[in-house]
Symmetry: C2
Subunit: 219 residues, 2 copies
């Protein structure tokens, strides 16, 4: 009985994700689902990304959190539209939660929609939200061993932003080992070292987003 | 149907937790369930704790991870017995997983059993494992805002070890705000700042463990 129920729930999720995907395609909106542990710097990355790109693109953000409106407030201060989803205890966003808030987004006038998932390296990796791209942020204080320890997250994403490289002198993080472990789990993913704090490596990330937007329009 | 099923699952969990609790009490074993985000330093804390206490106490560790035997190997090198549970995708330990590996622990000859839960600030907070104490580790690079953002975790624990205080000069972490936010969620919990790296604050933590052991024997 439990298995049937789970299968049913996941099939409903897949349908909801497909619904979102078609809507995004129709409005020509690039959608990026960003996942990570709590505190890896997703919101800071979004603040800096929004600040750097908002003169060229119409940007919106969906913030997923267990509780509080803090992250939406932070990105709003960076000048972008933001909608907060409080999951009330759920450890991930699911595609129906996204579908429910899309009317607040005005997709017709949104070029890029970032979805900041709940801080969690496990559960969010199991849910397709209908996005174009799934990426993961891993911060250097967490350690490079998180890649083999949370393999599904690194398997379903196509880019691993290694954030807080400004802290590398003070923590143990082996970038070569990270590349090697990521390659073993997902040869088509890649590592991109950045510091949202001092901007190091950020140009490569902004270029990645711009290219993703051009590719999205070609579809 | 889903609600009935969930209720049923949670009731089974409560029974299993009670079974574990009675066993721990019978053997006079202090059991501490340690939870946190990935990469906050739980394993390093356990390595250092085991090294500091293993001449006075017979210590064992259960390591919970999605995948890999890495953490058990690390604490074994620190000289303690360790059993690894690979949850195969589950985002938390549950009391039946614990009960299943207890025969490998030799509780009769174990004074203190540490359970290192899966790195996750959400799911593990929902599961009683039958432990005497639940504590949470939050590392300074994660930011003090994780306390209000993950309230259940800080509600069910009675001690918040704030780890990596050696990184405070390089990150934004407001210890007073952390105290204030924790007090609002759980007035009976407290903050204890430590650095597993340089040992700062570690004596207070070791004293806490020793006192917990004495209290456990009095029961």
């Amino acid at each position: 009985m439990k298995i049937t129920l789970e299968k049913d729930v996941m099939e409903n999720n897949d349908r909801a994700a497909e619904f979102n995907r078609q809507l995004f395609q129709k409005t020509g909106t690039l959608v990026i689902n960003i996942m990570s542990s709590p505190g890896s710097g997703k919101t800071t990355i979004l603040e800096k990304t929004a600040a750097a790109l908002s003169d060229q693109f119409r940007i919106a953000v969906i913030e997923g959190d267990i509780a509080t409106e803090r992250d939406a407030d932070r990105v709003r201060r960076a000048g972008v539209r933001a909608v907060q989803i409080a999951t009330e205890g759920e450890c991930h966003l699911d595609p129906r939660m996204i579908a429910k808030v899309l009317p607040e987004i005005d997709l017709d006038h949104t070029d890029i929609l970032f979805i900041e998932n709940v801080g969690n390296l496990v559960c969010p990796s199991e849910f397709d939200l209908g996005q174009n791209h799934r990426i993961v942020v891993l911060s250097t204080p967490e350690g490079n061993d998180k890649i083999p320890k949370y393999p599904l997250m690194f398997h379903v994403t196509e880019l691993a932003l290694i954030n807080k490289i400004d802290l590398i002198p003070y923590v143990s993080f082996d970038m070569n080992k990270a590349r090697e472990d990521l390659h073993a789990i997902n040869p088509s993913s890649r590592i991109m070292p950045v510091s949202a704090k001092n901007g190091e490596g950020f140009d490569a990330w902004l270029d990645w987003v711009k290219k993703a937007y051009r590719d999205c329009l070609k579809q």
